[in-house]
């Protein structure tokens, strides 16, 4: 999919290039802000204050970041296997369906059983939605980018149909289910911390954030410290070598996509079980696509993904506050910045890499 890699020192590759991409993205975004007649420096200050200036703001920032950690990890796991999973949006949507089916149909169960079942269902439904594209890629050679795009569209059609015609709340025009039982609720962080004797301001941040961090650690272990991870990375780096090493490419492709879909499905745990407590349309709010930006910026490494997710959390929360203060800069600014980050970190990274490679090659030679 891409040309011969450009040799760079490790820290340049992992830290400097993503940083330059973000700087370039923010520079262009600043020009856009200027063009619509606002002050970019003032906007940045407002954004940072909104995201990090209060305990509540930080809570919201981490709550948004939780979604992006899940989708970022999802994109990254697939990427390690040489697959581009654009289907995070659809897989997350199906995760919501899984959570809703469990939470609404197993109502009598106690919370310690219902919530984990809901989490498992989210992951399982997300994985199931990735299974068909994965299988078709592995066995029939259908390009996974196209099939996952189609599955995003299919997921949104399916969820509209189900919410309008089947699962919708009786007597309500809004396409959403009835509220979940209280037992299925993922506890809010401020409630948990209050119980432990650390009072913090209320925010939608819930224990899903801890789950997300655990998944990041788990992904690191799986990708770099297990046989499966080795197989995934080999298939991604050199499929021909993988065949000679006796690695079953088709099976690894399917497994990597199942993990990826499951991680994307977990967005529903944060959004549906943690905050909304009912299934509604478009709860993913583009998290599947932000995951692409996050994975590219984080260089598909869990630590990088967590940091990039927090950056996007800052953008989401700060952007919301900014839109209150300066109505001209709507939340669409965040989508624009994400697009720019994807462009500079993922497609135009050569404009940073090539000069840097020349610079370091010359230094080595001298």
């Amino acid at each position: 999919m891409s040309a011969a890699p450009i040799e760079l020192p490790r820290w340049v590759d992992l830290v400097l290039v993503p940083m330059l991409a973000v700087v370039a993205a923010f520079f262009v975004a600043g020009l856009v802000v200027l063009a619509i007649g606002e002050n970019p420096l003032q906007a940045t200050a407002l954004l940072l204050r909104g995201a990090l200036g209060s305990g509540e703001g930080i809570g919201f920032t981490l709550y948004y970041a939780t979604n992006f950690i899940f989708t970022g990890l999802a994109v990254a796991v697939a990427y390690h296997a040489g697959l581009f999973n654009i289907g995070g949006e659809g897989q997350a949507t199906l995760g919501g369906l899984g959570a809703a089916l469990v939470c609404l149909n197993l109502e009598g169960l106690p919370g310690w059983l219902l919530a984990p079942l809901g989490i498992l269902a989210s992951a399982a439904f997300g994985a199931a939605w990735a299974l068909i594209p994965a299988y078709l890629q592995a066995k029939r050679g259908s390009h996974i980018v196209i099939t996952t795009i189609m599955f995003n569209m299919l997921a949104s059609a399916l969820i509209v149909y189900l919410l309008v015609n089947v699962m919708g709340r009786a007597g309500s025009m809004a396409p959403e289910t009835r509220p979940f039982p209280a037992a299925s609720h993922i506890p809010f962080m401020h409630v948990v911390l209050q119980g432990l004797g650390f009072p913090v301001p209320a925010s939608p941040l819930n224990l899903s954030f801890v789950l997300a961090l655990a998944m990041a650690v788990l992904m690191w272990v799986v990708i770099w410290r297990t046989r499966l991870g080795y197989a995934i990375r080999t298939v991604g780096a050199n499929p021909t070598a993988a065949v000679y090493a006796g690695i079953p490419i088709a099976r690894i492709t399917v497994i990597a996509m199942l993990i990826s879909g499951a991680l994307a499905g977990l967005v529903a745990v944060n959004e549906i079980m943690g905050v909304q407590e009912r299934l509604l349309l478009e709860f993913t709010a583009g998290a599947g696509f932000i995951g692409i930006a996050v994975a590219l910026m984080g260089r598909s490494h869990p630590l990088g993904i967590v940091l990039a997710s927090i950056l996007f959390g800052v953008l989401y929360q700060g952007g919301t506050e900014l839109a209150f203060e300066r109505p001209a800069i709507t939340r669409d600014m965040i989508v624009t910045i994400s697009g720019l980050v994807i462009l500079f970190a993922g497609a135009l990274d050569g404009i940073f890499r090539r000069p840097l490679a020349q610079f370091f090659a010359r230094r080595k030679g001298a």
Binding site: M1, I146, L154, F289, L343, G346, A347
Partner: protein, 323 residues
């Protein structure tokens, strides 16, 4: 007679709905035939729809809107081209970026300029493309079947609809019958051979990408300046992705692209028509199922269960000159 007039009306709206798909599909065809994968069709149409509506509103002239739409769409196409061809970057990532940028920028700028929640003010009079009545349409309307078919389905569209058909004819002819077309197809299959023959791979690919920009510009401007009367946020609503599906369905060929887009447009028209209709025996028709049909069909096709869709061999691969 009632069935006939309903059928005519559905066909008529099917044609209207097929046109933006067709423009985008042809755009994808040019780009991918030259070896540049383009999943940014949706984004390019969206920016063109916005620029078209904004310029048509400012000047009161639909043609100025069309020009602006084409210009802005082509600018985005060149960003994609620069990333994909000159920088040899990842073409899928670049396409995703174009789509996101388009959603963000159109809403942001639209809101800042017009303060109407991202929409442009409604276009009136000469700021929109008006339907054209083809010669003789009124004279033969009375003839059974052929008359209404000609007068309502074929005649009575805006000029852009006929440009779309013309674009199909030209695409098919240029690709199959001209030297440029042969070279363009070759560069999508085996760029090294084209390079060896002393023809610029980059030049051909940039030409194709610009053509894709122009065609997406036409499609986008059609949405906001001809079909609707102004821009709405995210008004492309997945049409760029349906066009991508149609392109695969048509196996990257122009005439099948026309047929597929007409089919998908017709499906869309039928689903709109059947909204809330109760069919005896089936109950209420699940409109979403009909809307999802193009995507589902494409997956089945890609799976190779009904024929095989094989993309141009070099599509998605940046060309690196051996030294």
């Amino acid at each position: 007679m009632d069935w006939l007039s309903t059928g005519i009306a559905v066909f008529d709206s099917g044609v209207r709905l097929a046109v933006p798909l067709l423009f985008a599909c042809l755009a994808g065809l040019w780009s991918e035939r030259s070896g540049v994968v383009d999943i940014g069709l949706e984004g390019k149409m969206l920016v063109a729809a916005f620029a078209g509506a904004a310029a048509a509103h400012a000047t009161g002239n639909a043609w100025a809107g069309l020009g602006a739409g084409i210009l802005v769409s082509t600018a985005f196409a060149l960003v994609h081209g620069f990333a994909a061809i000159s920088q040899r970057g990842n073409q899928i990532v670049s396409g995703v970026a174009v789509n996101m940028l388009a959603v963000g920028l159109t809403a942001l700028v639209g809101n800042a300029w017009y303060k109407q929640g991202g929409r442009t003010p409604p276009l009136e009079g000469a700021a929109r493309f008006e339907p054209i009545t083809l010669p003789g349409a009124d004279a033969i309307r009375g003839v059974p079947i052929v008359g209404p078919l000609y007068a309502d389905v074929i005649s009575g569209h805006t000029v852009l609809v006929y440009i779309a058909v013309l674009a199909t004819v030209l695409t098919a002819w240029v690709l199959a019958r001209t030297r440029f077309g042969l070279r363009l197809r070759a560069v999508g299959e085996n760029p090294a051979a084209v390079d060896t023959a002393g023809i610029s791979v980059m030049g051909l690919r940039y030409t194709a990408v610009v053509l894709a920009g122009v065609l997406c510009g036409l499609g986008g401007a059609y949405l906001s300046v001809a079909q609707a009367a102004g821009f709405l946020t995210q008004m492309t609503a997945g049409k760029g992705f349906i066009a991508l599906a149609a392109l695969i369905f048509a196996k990257w060929r122009a005439w099948p692209a026309l047929a597929t887009c007409l089919l998908f447009g017709l499906l869309d028209a039928v689903s709109i028509r059947l909204q809330g209709v109760v069919v005896p025996g089936i109950g209420q028709v699940p409109v979403q199922a009909i809307q999802a049909l193009p995507y589902a069909l494409t997956v089945v096709l890609l799976a190779g269960f009904i024929g095989r869709a094989i993309p141009p061999r070099a599509s998605g691969l940046p060309y690196v000159k051996e030294r």
